[in-house]
């Protein structure tokens, strides 16, 4: 048996072999073989796909907004950081949807993608909003939650909302936007929280009834720092310039997302990258037991997947977003372990229909957000968003979609 006599050079032999032949020689317990077999199948699928014509992928890049009005909601922007430009400004998510289910703090806005569906009338304007809790500890706990199959009440720290409105709607005019700064929304939106500027400010200060908050947490913080002194002043003088809103809000820096087709960026010379991939993979341990070879192989799959990911990404290294809305589209996984198998994508909780991959966020976003490299700072490999295939209309304006986070 090849495995039993494995030395340094037979590792090379193994690499040359087709992956499926490894299974016949293994003396491992079923679980490991199963996983490898499963891995084999998926990997084979991937290989086949790469040979065929790929789905056209739109890449998202971050840039400073062109004009001061580019990121306002009437321009239907795609943006990252700052405060969200809500599509439906009135029926904003409230209550449990706004907070991290693990720590209870209100979620922070990550990015929004304006992705209308031309075939569907009710989705003439359609935007997907991504929110997450900035704490890494919540994200680690969130991993446990997302691996649960069909939980009744998922408690996630990353949430995605989809909002769509038809062409004729009470919020924006049906005419084409002039895109010169003179567009106006048809009606003012709901008041936002004075502390975060992200969520709906439906709670008021009990005394002065002038300051709005999204949650008790924000109200308490604002009271402690600023409002305690200001609230009193309202009794004496009629004006109240809210001091809390002067302070820099805890938001990530704001950018506009600009999209380009991936095809615009030609594939780089593949020789070097293949050498890279091979050099990453062949660093195996010369050991007699099959265990270490399997382990080494598992590690190699991770490295190989990462090499493929890096090669694809190197065509446009600044990319932050990969958008491809199609039933056959697959996300580009940076790591092999921690992927979501296609069979495990849940069904839409509003209409029960199928969910398909829509877009994924890469970790390059963290660089643009200025997240530091500490031990406990936020980090992910990729965040993948799956949405309802039929983009169903439900009673609630902002429908929650499924999001999968892969960590390194």
């Amino acid at each position: 048996m090849e495995g039993a006599s494995a030395k340094g050079d037979s590792m090379e032999e193994l690499k040359g072999l087709r992956i499926s032949s490894l299974d016949s020689d293994s003396e491992e317990d079923a679980a490991v073989v199963e996983e490898n077999r499963k891995a084999v199948d998926v990997e084979e699928e991937d290989d086949e796909d790469e040979d065929e014509d790929l789905e056209p992928v739109m890449l998202g890049f971050l840039e400073k907004p062109e004009h001061p009005w580019s990121l306002l909601r009437q321009s239907f922007p795609s943006k990252a950081g700052g405060a969200p430009a809500w599509l439906d400004p009135v029926n904003l998510p409230t209550g449990r949807h706004c907070v991290c289910d693990i720590c209870g703090k209100p979620l922070r806005f990550v990015l929004q993608v304006y992705a209308p569906i031309t075939e569907k009338e009710s989705a003439y304007h359609r935007t997907l909003f991504v929110f997450m809790c900035p704490k890494m500890s919540c994200l680690l706990r969130d991993q446990h939650e997302q691996w649960k199959h069909k939980p009744e009440q998922p408690s996630r720290s990353v949430k995605v909302f989809r909002c769509q409105v038809p062409l004729s709607n009470p919020f924006y005019s049906s005419e084409h936007s002039k895109n010169d700064g003179t567009d106006r929304p048809s009606s003012p939106g709901a008041v936002l929280c004075d502390r975060c500027g992200t969520w709906k400010g439906d709670k008021l200060c009990g005394r002065c009834k002038k300051v709005h908050y999204c949650s008790e947490r924000h109200q308490r913080k604002d009271w402690k720092s600023v409002h305690k002194y200001e609230c009193r002043q309202v009794d004496n003088s009629l004006q109240l310039s809210n001091a809390g809103s002067i302070l820099t809000k805890k938001l990530w820096p704001e950018y506009e997302i600009v999209d380009e087709d991936e095809g615009e960026f030609g594939a780089k010379v593949t020789d070097d990258s293949q050498n890279n991939a091979m050099s990453l993979v062949s660093r195996g341990k010369a050991d007699d037991s099959m265990d270490s070879i399997i382990d080494g192989f598992k590690m190699d799959i991770d490295k190989r997947t990462f090499a493929i990911f890096e090669e694809r990404r190197s065509r446009a290294p600044d990319q932050v977003l990969r958008y491809c809305r199609s039933s056959t589209a697959k996300p580009l996984w940076p790591m092999f372990s921690g992927r979501l198998p296609k069979a495990d994508i849940p069904s839409c909780k509003h209409c029960g229909g199928r969910m398909i991959f829509e877009f994924q966020i890469l970790s390059t976003l963290l660089y643009y957000f200025g997240v530091d490299n500490g031990r406990d700072s936020l980090d992910w490999a990729t965040i993948v968003v799956y949405t309802c295939e039929s983009s169903c209309d439900a009673s609630v304006a902002y429908k929650e979609e499924f999001v999968w986070v892969q960590l390194y």
């Binding site: 700064g181 720092s225 305690k228 200001e230 001091a243 002067i246 302070l247 820099t248 820096p253 200025g370």
Partner: protein
Amino acid sequence: MQVFNLQLPSLIRREEEEKWVPVTKLGRLVKEGKIRSLEQIYLHSLPIKEYQIIDTLVGPGVLKDEVMKISPVQKQTRAGLRTRFKAFVVGGGNGHVGLGVKCSKEVATAIRGAIILAKLSVIPVRRGYWGNKIGLPHTVPCKVTGKCGSVTVRMVPAPRGAGIVAARVPKKVLQFAGIEDVFTSSRGSTKTLGNFVKATFDCLLKTYGFLTPDFWKDTRFTKSPFQEYTDLLGKPTKALILEDVERTEA
């Protein structure tokens, strides 16, 4: 929400905040882009009198600020008690800290003023290593102490993973400074927040004032930016004013 000039919908008016007309020589140099980093200003010990200098050099979104405390202070007058609000704002990011204290009749004005003063007082913080020089500097380079009023704050280098071992008030300042690990010790009436925070600020100020063997080498003096760009500064700024007048008439 921005308010556009409704009489001229086609013209896009820039917000007033963006129109910074520098008043000082340093301001003019920064606006022109001749000075690229704060460190050039620190090198020549030039006083910074306009807060927009810091905004342009450091870039928006890098400096975070936080209100440490708002205390109402009162003065007795014939007509009764006159209350004003004193705001302490600490800001920082990327190895710099600033502290601003402002007193005003309204809370919002006090905070705004304190933010401006904090920007004006931005100082660089020197960080060093406790032991092995692996990775980026994480702690104070040496034992330093700062004093304000009766409060003295002493900072002692700490190994990685120690975290900021300090009271709530100096911890905030040190977090903004970008120091990851430090041991502190304080003395005096630390409950006077004003003095406590000023003492830690003074301590951080001294980190670059401490002579260590790295600084033994002879300094190679460079020209002060005022000397270097003297002809640019000599040019009159009248052209700018005329431009503004034309805009408002149209």
